[in-house]
Symmetry: C3
C-alpha cells in the first residue's frame, strides 16, 4: 500500500495524472460526487492547521465520503502518551485513509509504516508538506497550461520556507524553468538545495523584488518573520521591500501569476487581491481539488494492494543514531533508527524519518 | 448575495416567510431531508458556544448537508494571525455557507464583505445574535399563533442582555405588544433603546417579578450576573426575587409562555421544567428548525445571485475612526473604518461594524 | 427508553444478542450501511478520549448516520456552568442518541434521567465504561467461540483498573471460568470484588506473570502506573516483571489470546505485535462493531418506547447524602441525592450515581 510522505514518493507521470484528475473533477464534479461513498477520512492533526484540515475535509465530503478525527493533540490520546505507531494501527480500524499533521519530523512516515491504510503527510514540522506542493503545481498548470517554460521568482524567507524548498525540488524535475531567488542575504536559499536542485545558468539571486519583478511569469511570495533577523534595524529596513503592493505591480507582466501558500500577514497588500494576477485564493481552491484527486488515487491503489511495501534501501545500524530533537525518533517508543546512504562517496547517512545527516556514535 | 448579520437584514415579510418554512419543516420533515445534499456548512466558532454550534450542525445535517469547521480559535488559523477577511475568502473555497461566532463585534460583517458565500452571524461579542432572535420569534409564533397582541415581560439583566435587546427591537415591528420591563434599577433597559423601540403607554418598568407576573402572556427570563452589581449586598438582596420557581408561578396565567435563551444557572428552578408553561427547551428545538429555514433561504438566494451587494449608504472618512476596543476594526488588518450617518440632525455617525458612535479625530 | 450506563443494564441474553448482531455486521456490512440513515449521534466528551470517541463516530458513520458533538469540555457550554441535566435536554433536540464521557462518576446517569433519547456511558471517571467491557466480551467470543470454559489471567494494576473490574463482573455471569489474578501485592484486586464476583476455588492470586502464563487461554494486560506505588524502589523492581515480551511468550499456549484495553505504554513490547496471539488491535476493531450493534439496539428500542422508565428501587432520604467528591452530585445543580439499599442486613445504602456507600448525616 502506498502513502504520500514526500513529494518524491510520486513520479512525474503520477503527478501529471493527479493534475489531470483534478482538472477533470473541476470540469465534472457530479461524476465524482459519490466516488468515496462509505469511505472515511481520519484527520489526525497533532497541531492545529485549519486551512489544511478543512481543505482535506472538504475534499472528502465532495467525494461523498465522511470525516472523523481531531484538530489538536490535547483532545487526543497523544496526551496519554500513545505512540504514533499504535495510533496509526488503531485508526486503521476506524477509517480508510489518514491525513496526518504532526510537529515532529517523520511522524507520518512512522504512521505509514504501521497503518493498514494509506497515510497522507499533511505537514510534519518544518520537513515535508507534499499536498501544498501538489497544490502549487496544479495552480501553475491551470494558470500557465504547462509545468515548464517560465521564469518563476521566489520572494521572502528562502532559508526556512518549507513550501519554497519543496516547490523548487518538485520543479527541478521539469524543463526550461528559470528561477530568480529574491531575499535578504540572511534568508537566502541554503546552498545544498541550490547545488542539488538548481543548475548553473538557470537561476540567479537578488535582494530586490522590484528589480526582478518585470521578468517574472510567476511570483511566489512568502512571509518574512521578524524573529529570523539577528539585527532588528536590518529587519525594519528590509521588510517593506519584500511586501507586494499595487504600485510595485505596475512594473510586472500582464500575465503574471502571484502565488502565496497563505496565511499571509502583510507581505501582500490587501489592495492586490482584486488584481486579476492575484492567484493565492485560487490556490486554496486548487488545494481542495488536488486533495480530492490524491485521496481517490490512494484509495484505489489500496483497494488493489493491502500490503505495505517499505522501501528496502535503508539500513539499521546500532552505530548510527538520529540526534535531531525535532525528529519523531526522539519521542516515539521502541522505534528503530533507520538510515539511508545518500552520498556513498562521502559516507553520508541520513535518517529515514527526518533526513538529518547521522553521526557515528 | 445575502448574509444575515443583524435581525434588521430581514424584512417583516421575510421573517414571516422563515417562520412559515420552519413550521412546514416541523410538519413535513421528510420533504426537507435531502434539500441540502452535497452542500456544506462551515461552523467558524472563534469562541466556544456548544448550543449554538450544535444547533446549526443539526440543522444542516437534517437538511441532508454536511458540516466542517472549528469550535474554538486556538485550533484555527486565527492563532497564526490570519485576518477574518482572508479566512472568509478561503472558506468560500471549502463550503457553501458560513455560520460565524466571534468575540469581536462586526467580525461576521467583515466575513460577509469578503466571502463568496452567505454568512450567518452566530453571535459577535455582545452585539448581534440574530438566529437567537429568530428562534424567539418562532417560539412565540408557535405558542401564541401570532406575533402581536400580547403582554410580554422581560426579567433580569435588561441592561447588558443582548438577547433581550434584540427581541425588543424585533418585536417593535409588530402590533399590539405590551412590554413590562422587570429588573433592578441598576440593570434597567438602556434609555436609548426605550426611546427607539418602545412607545409611551405600551410599556412600563417594575422591580418586582411577582407584581408583574399575573399580567403576562409571555415571560422572558434572563440571568443576572453577580459581576454586574457594584454592591454585593444589593446583589444578595435582589437575586432571589428574580428567580422563577413553582411557588411564584401560582400567580401566573394558565397560558403563560416561559422563555429563556439558555444556558440557565439558577434563575429558573429545575422544578419549573415540568410545568407545561415552561417553553425554554422547546426554544432549543425551535432554534434548530428556524436555522434550517434560514440556511435554505440563504442558499437558494445565493444560487440565483452570486454577487455581493454591499449597502451603499456608508461613508469612509479619514477624519472618523472607531475607537471601540471590542470592534473587529481594532484588530483586523488593513480594514477601512466605515460609518453610517444615523442621526443627520445631530451629526451622529456610527461604525458599520459595531454601531458604536464615532468620534471626530 | 433505555440507556446503557453500566454493563449490568444488560441481561446475559441481551449481551449475547449484541454479540450476535456484531458478528453479523462483520459478515454482512452492506446490510447495515444505511440502517441509521438520517440518525444523529452526539458525542459529548467532557474529557478527551480519542480512541473511544472515534470508535463511536466510526460506528455511527458505518451505519449511515452522522455525528456532532464536542471533544473536550472547554469547547462546550460546561465552561458556562450548564448542568449535565440541561445539556442532556437540549441535545435531545439535536440528536437521536448520546455517547457521553465525563470526569464525574454518575454524570451519564444524570443525562439518561433527563434526555429524551438513549444515553451510552462512554466512561464516567473511574466508575463505569460498559462499551469497553462489551468490546472485551466480543473479542473473547470471536477468539474462543464462547464466553466460558477458559482460564483468564488479569495482569497489572488490578486494584484501580476499571476495565479489569468491569470484565470480571461481566464474566461472573458465565460458566466455567478460571481466573488468575497477577499483580504486585499493593495492586491486588479489592477484596469486596473478589467476594462478590469470584467463587472460592475458581481463582487464585500470584505475583508472577511468568508462573501463570503457561496455564492461560486469555491474558488481559493492563498498565501499572508508577504513581500507584508508595515505594519507588519497589516500582523499579517490579515493573519489568509485568511487561510482556516475546521471550516470556515462549512459555505460553499456542492459542493464547492477548488482550489490552489500550493505550499501552510499555507493558507489552512492540515486538509482540506481530505474534498471532496478539489481539489488542483486533479489540479496537471489535470495539467499533459492538458499538454499531449497541447503537442499533438502543435506537430500535427508543423507536418503540419514548418514555423513560427509571428504576423505582431507589430512595430519597434527606438524612443521606453522597460525600464522594468525584460523584456528579458534588457539582450538579439542584440534584437530588438518591440511594439504593444494597445490603439490607447491614443497612448499607449506595449512591445511585457513583455507587459509593452513603453516610448517615
Amino acid at each position: 500500500m502506498r502513502s504520500l510522505i514526500s513529494i518524491f514518493d510520486l513520479s512525474v507521470p503520477e503527478i501529471d495524472g493527479l493534475i489531470k484528475t483534478a482538472e477533470d473533477i473541476i470540469e465534472n464534479p457530479d461524476k465524482y460526487a459519490e466516488k468515496c461513498k462509505r469511505k472515511k477520512l481520519a484527520t489526525l492533526f497533532y497541531e492545529p492547521s485549519t486551512r489544511t484540515r478543512l481543505s482535506f475535509e472538504a475534499a472528502m465530503l465532495e467525494l461523498g465520503g465522511s470525516v472523523l478525527g481531531f484538530s489538536e493533540a490535547n483532545s487526543s490520546s497523544a496526551a496519554k502518551g500513545e505512540s504514533v505507531a499504535d495510533t496509526a494501527k488503531v485508526i486503521s480500524c476506524y477509517a480508510d485513509i489518514i491525513a496526518m499533521r504532526h510537529p515532529k519530523e517523520g511522524a507520518p512516515q512512522v504512521a505509514a509504516e504501521n497503518a493498514d491504510i494509506p497515510v497522507i503527510n499533511a505537514g510534519d514540522g518544518g520537513h515535508n508538506h507534499p499536498t501544498q506542493t501538489l497544490t502549487d503545481l496544479l495552480t501553475i498548470h491551470r494558470e500557465k497550461g504547462r509545468l515548464g517554460g517560465f521564469t518563476i521568482g521566489f520572494c521572502g524567507d528562502l532559508r526556512y520556507g518549507r513550501t519554497v524548498h519543496s516547490l523548487i525540488e518538485a520543479l527541478s524535475r521539469y524543463e526550461n524553468i528559470n528561477v530568480i531567488l529574491i531575499s535578504p542575504t540572511e534568508l537566502r536559499l541554503p546552498s545544498n538545495l541550490k547545488k542539488k536542485y538548481l543548475t548553473e545558468g538557470s537561476y540567479r539571486e537578488t535582494k530586490s523584488l522590484e528589480e526582478a519583478l518585470p521578468e517574472l511569469d510567476i511570483l511566489y511570495m512568502t512571509r518574512i518573520q521578524q524573529e529570523r533577523f539577528s539585527d532588528f534595524d536590518e529587519y525594519l529596513k528590509l521588510k517593506d521591500s519584500y511586501c507586494l503592493n499595487t504600485e510595485k505591480l505596475n512594473a510586472a507582466k500582464k500575465e503574471l501569476t502571484i502565488m502565496h501558500p497563505l496565511p499571509r500577514v502583510n507581505e501582500i497588500s490587501v489592495g492586490v487581491d482584486k488584481d486579476p494576477r492575484a492567484c493565492y485564493f485560487k490556490q486554496a481552491l486548487n488545494g481542495k481539488y488536488i486533495r480530492m484527486a490524491l485521496i481517490l488515487k490512494l484509495l484505489e491503489e489500496a483497494e488493489n494492494d493491502r500490503e505495505y511495501h517499505p522501501a528496502a534501501d535503508f539500513i539499521i545500524d546500532n552505530l548510527l543514531t538520529c540526534d535531531n530533537s525535532k525528529c519523531i525518533t526522539s519521542i516515539e517508543q521502541e522505534i528503530q533508527h533507520k538510515f539511508r546512504l545518500t552520498d556513498a562517496e562521502n559516507g553520508v547517512y541520513r535518517c529515514v524519518y527526518c533526513e538529518r545527516q547521522s553521526k557515528k556514535n
